[in-house]
């Protein structure tokens, strides 16, 4: 599956954060938060981005939303390179691409009531006060919060799940085409998570949206996504459809991730954790493949250069691992998790 008809195309995106220390605050090192990430998002699909904390997923989201400026790379939205647009001319872009934030408690202004908070987005783009309020009521209705009951309430009077719905409403009031969701359900209880996820699915179907869904929770990603992208330490290690990746993870990191998720079945209890240790420091990542220090299948070639993300198998599957260098396209024996 090629990148034609892709609503979002990211090529070689890179962001290093300088580490300043010393008397004159000189740059001592760089945190390589996002290091050469390339992928695309098809119109109407849900791309799930999964990875550990610190792998650069949130930075990636903010780079695409242009809340942070990337150091290198291209981001094409609707075939237009949005990185070329100056900051002052970004308003039309923000009409189309919106973001839902992670923390329901700090992502809403405590001094604004719900309808004003949602209407603010509409007013920024030129709507009058009454038109913006009507739009806010409509979209609040869509997320399941009745405007008469909730409109004038303040964030501290709502539960976490309700606040997150307000977050979603705020992102949707401008009728965007692409919604970037940065761990939208991570701060919620499981039961509430399910409600919000179902709401997101329903909204996507009703409004024809495209989602870039970021999470560290594999179950959530599996539940919602059409395609999955696995990140490790600022780089993409595997891409594929959700079914393929979950039933047949190819990259050793993905395999370990799926093996690590706890199950309720005591028979599935493991003796040894499939993945030990902490991810290496992004200031000084290992040479070559960044996962080789924790990889059970590390070889000599893994230390030489970063494995490129290459197509393997069918259905647009891509893996960045030297293990598959000598495999055929249809994939023969793959190493399994011990």
């Amino acid at each position: 599956m090629g990148a034609h008809g892709a609503i979002l195309q990211v090529k070689g995106l890179q962001k290093y954060f300088p580490v300043r220390a010393g008397l004159f605050q000189t740059v001592q090192a760089q945190v390589k938060a996002v290091d050469g990430v390339s992928f695309h998002v098809q119109r109407g699909e849900i791309l799930g981005v999964v990875g550990e904390s610190g792998c650069g997923k949130s930075t990636l989201a903010r780079l695409i939303q242009r809340l942070i400026e990337p150091d290198a790379g291209e981001v094409h939205f609707n075939a237009e390179n949005i990185l070329r647009i100056p900051q002052t001319a970004l308003k039309p872009f923000y009409r189309q691409v919106q973001m839902v934030f992670q923390d329901p408690y700090s992502s809403l202004n405590p001094r604004l009531n719900i309808e004003d908070a949602v209407a603010f987005n509409a007013r920024v783009h030129g709507d009058s006060r009454s038109v913006a309020r009507t739009k806010a009521w409509e979209v609040l209705q869509k997320v399941g919060l009745r405007a008469e009951q909730f409109g004038r309430r303040y964030p501290h009077e709502l539960s976490g799940g309700q606040r997150q719905r307000v977050n979603i409403a705020r992102a949707l009031v401008l009728q965007p085409t692409l919604v970037i969701l940065d761990e939208p359900v991570s701060s919620l209880d499981k039961s509430v998570q399910a409600q919000v996820l179902n709401l997101l699915q329903q909204l996507k179907d009703d409004l024809g949206l495209t989602y870039l869904f970021i999470s560290h929770d594999l179950h959530v990603i599996e539940y919602l996504s059409d395609r999955v992208l696995v990140m490790y330490l600022g780089q993409v290690v595997e891409v594929g459809s959700a079914e393929d990746v979950s039933t047949n993870p190819m990259h050793p990191y993905t395999q370990a991730l799926f093996a690590s998720t706890p199950t309720m079945n005591p028979d599935d209890r493991l003796d040894h954790p499939p993945l030990t240790g902490d991810p290496p420091n992004p200031i000084n990542p290992p040479s070559g493949c960044r996962f080789r220090t924790r990889c059970p299948h590390a070889m000599a070639v893994c230390a030489t250069a970063t494995p490129p993300l290459l197509p393997r198998g069918e259905n647009g599957r891509q893996v960045a691992c030297y293990l598959y260098d000598h495999q055929t396209q249809t994939g023969s024996s793959r190493p399994s998790v011990p």
Binding site: K91, S106, N113, F120, Y154, P155
Partner: protein, 299 residues
């Protein structure tokens, strides 16, 4: 200083009312209405203010006219309910007219410092690192001096007079307010809703106006209100030292100075200006405490 809020606040003030949703300011007002001590302090200030404004109607005497024959009459003398000072002027009259000056010199510097300090602090918090550094390190220079000494030094350099006192005190109070403003602005900027506001495509000014100011002004205002009581005392102190109002102005601090020698003749009359300074300063102090309690709502 021990935290006395646990003693003063009944439990129901720590939560809000049940029922209709309230905005932050409605909540603050609701809590203030229930706080007896703050209401008391506020009424005292209102009374002093009214007395100062309506002074001509409350006494028949003139604050500058005295009769040497009647000097240093005791409190409760016929015709002079609070006695007279060393030049025979009626104390009650001088205290009432003095209220005008003392309230002005107490409140004006804080207002000026609030305006200048809040602007500088919010600018420092919002703008880049370099602007921040320039503003904050300049304020640090002023912070190096104890506030009383700084006030005396600036007053001494500018010369005597109420106007110069106001200028001096404004300069003394601007750095602390700037510091608070910068700190609060930096904190609020880190909240995710600020990022969300930027992600909506709003410009910096719209974000500041709609999202930041409401969250930032409240703590700054609370801090500034605590400075009013300090300002009253500092202003009186400067006048006492001869750096503020000059005689025959009926300013409380100045009255303390001129009445100092008369303690041996009549002990209570010289204490009266001090009592007024104390009442005024204490009332502002309690009011600002109550304001802080009411505005510190856990949202």
């Amino acid at each position: 200083m021990a935290d006395t809020t646990a003693i003063r606040m009944p439990q129901d003030l720590l939560e809000g009312p049940v029922g209709k949703p309230m905005s932050y300011w409605q909540l603050v007002w609701w809590r203030l209405r229930r706080d007896k001590v703050t209401l008391g302090a506020a009424s005292v200030i209102v009374m002093i203010l009214l007395a100062a404004v309506l002074a001509p109607y409350l006494t028949a005497y003139e604050p500058f006219q005295g009769s040497i024959r009647k000097r240093l009459l005791a409190i409760g003398s016929p015709g002079h309910i609070l006695g007279t000072d060393e030049q025979g002027r009626d104390m009650l009259t001088r205290l009432l007219y003095g209220g005008r000056m003392s309230l002005t010199v107490g409140v004006t510097p804080v207002c000026v410092a609030l305006l200048v300090g809040a602007t500088l602090g919010i600018l420092a918090g919002f703008a880049g690192k370099r602007v921040n550094m320039v503003i904050m390190r300049t304020m640090d220079i002023f912070y190096a001096f104890p506030s009383v000494l700084l006030a005396i030094a600036i007053s001494g350099a500018l010369g005597a007079g109420i106007g110069n006192t106001i200028v001096a005190l404004s300069i003394v109070f601007t750095p602390p307010i700037t510091r608070i403003a910068e700190s609060v602005t930096t904190q609020v900027r880190a909240w995710e809703f600020m990022e969300a506001a930027r992600a909506s495509g709003a410009g910096a000014l719209a974000i500041i106006r709609h999202h930041m100011l409401a969250n930032v002004l409240a703590p700054i205002f609370v801090y500034a209100s605590t400075l009013v009581s300090v300002s009253v005392i500092l202003a009186s102190g400067l006048s006492f030292l001869g750096l503020g109002a000059s005689p025959p102005a009926p300013e409380w601090g100045l009255m303390l100075n001129t009445l100092r020698q008369s303690i041996y003749v009549n002990a209570w009359v010289p204490a009266l200006p001090g009592v007024m300074i104390f009442i005024t300063s204490m009332s502002f102090n309690l009011l600002s405490d109550g304001l802080r309690d009411a505005m510190d709502v856990r949202l």
